[in-house]
């Protein structure tokens, strides 16, 4: 399964991804335990491509990347919209 990661060269640390992930109780986005407290994605908890909620709210182009293909998922490509919500908890 493909996985997501944050590209810190583009991320503005607005934390919308953190907020929506927490609200959905997926809890894959977390704050790293280092002084910069950057946002990271735990691939073991993330349900992408089933859930693409973080991609829908991310405002910074290129800041969430699909690890395997290396392509930017922000703004989300059309297939991400079609898959939207399919693996969200009921």
């Amino acid at each position: 399964m493909p996985t997501l990661k944050i590209d810190h060269d583009h991320c503005t640390e607005c934390r919308m991804c953190y907020v929506v992930c927490r609200e959905l109780d997926i809890n894959a986005v977390y704050v790293a335990l280092e002084p910069l407290h950057r946002i990271e994605i735990d691939a073991r908890a993330c349900t992408y491509p089933g859930c693409t909620a973080c991609l829908m709210y991310c405002p910074a182009e290129g800041s969430i990347v699909e690890v395997e293909s290396g392509r930017s998922m922000v703004p989300p490509p059309p297939e991400a919209w079609r898959r939207r919500g399919s693996a969200l908890p009921v």
Binding site: R15, R22, D25, N27, Y30, V31, L33, E34, P35, H37
Partner: protein
Amino acid sequence: MVDLPGKALAQELIAQSRAESRSTPMEAVIDAVRDGRFHDEHAFRLIGRLWTLERMFYYVYGGWGQGLELNDFPASVKYLFSRQIYDDSTHEMLYMDTILRQGWAPTQQDVFRHPNGRFVMDSALAYYVFSLRNFATYAHTIRIAALNLGAKILELGWMEGLAEALPDGELKGVFTSQFVENRSHVNMGRRIVEESVSRPIDAELCRWACAAVKADYTRFLQELSDLILDRKTVTTPVATAPVND
């Protein structure tokens, strides 16, 4: 170079708070960690209550923010305050992440309902929160002096002691990763007091507010320490003054 008007006051408040920072009720918790009497359940109580307090800062800072325009502070003061709100929000996230990662609760909703994460009105935590919120009617310089050069220095002191004693890498990281931001808040407070507190009456208000906030914060720390170590909290009566029309 012109001397900043509040420089001596800032130094005085910092020195007083630093002198008190390693004699708070949290020293008993640090001793318990060193003696191997601090286990998973104690850690959940600690992180759960700190999360409850930290999330209430959204409420405190919301009230404070409303008063910022009234006194027409310079842009730097507003920037520093917004930075502080962001940092304290980060710390709230750190505590929640830890609770979920450690498996102490499955979801954030569960932590809201759990005794370790629930906000209780009749508590020292609530008293401290409402006391801080009431500083919304004071000038921003006064309340920042009270929080950043008072309670935050106490917090930094016990957190440094606790982090040093904690053997667990992840739990230690929750605290050590906050140090830079916490020191930065102290420096923000120092700068604001140095630059903006010039009148003797404001200096007196800063001294009073700083002592009041530290007393309220220490009452919360006593409650927290008692909860962690299974002790009964003996509440000391709060000084009240009759109000007449």
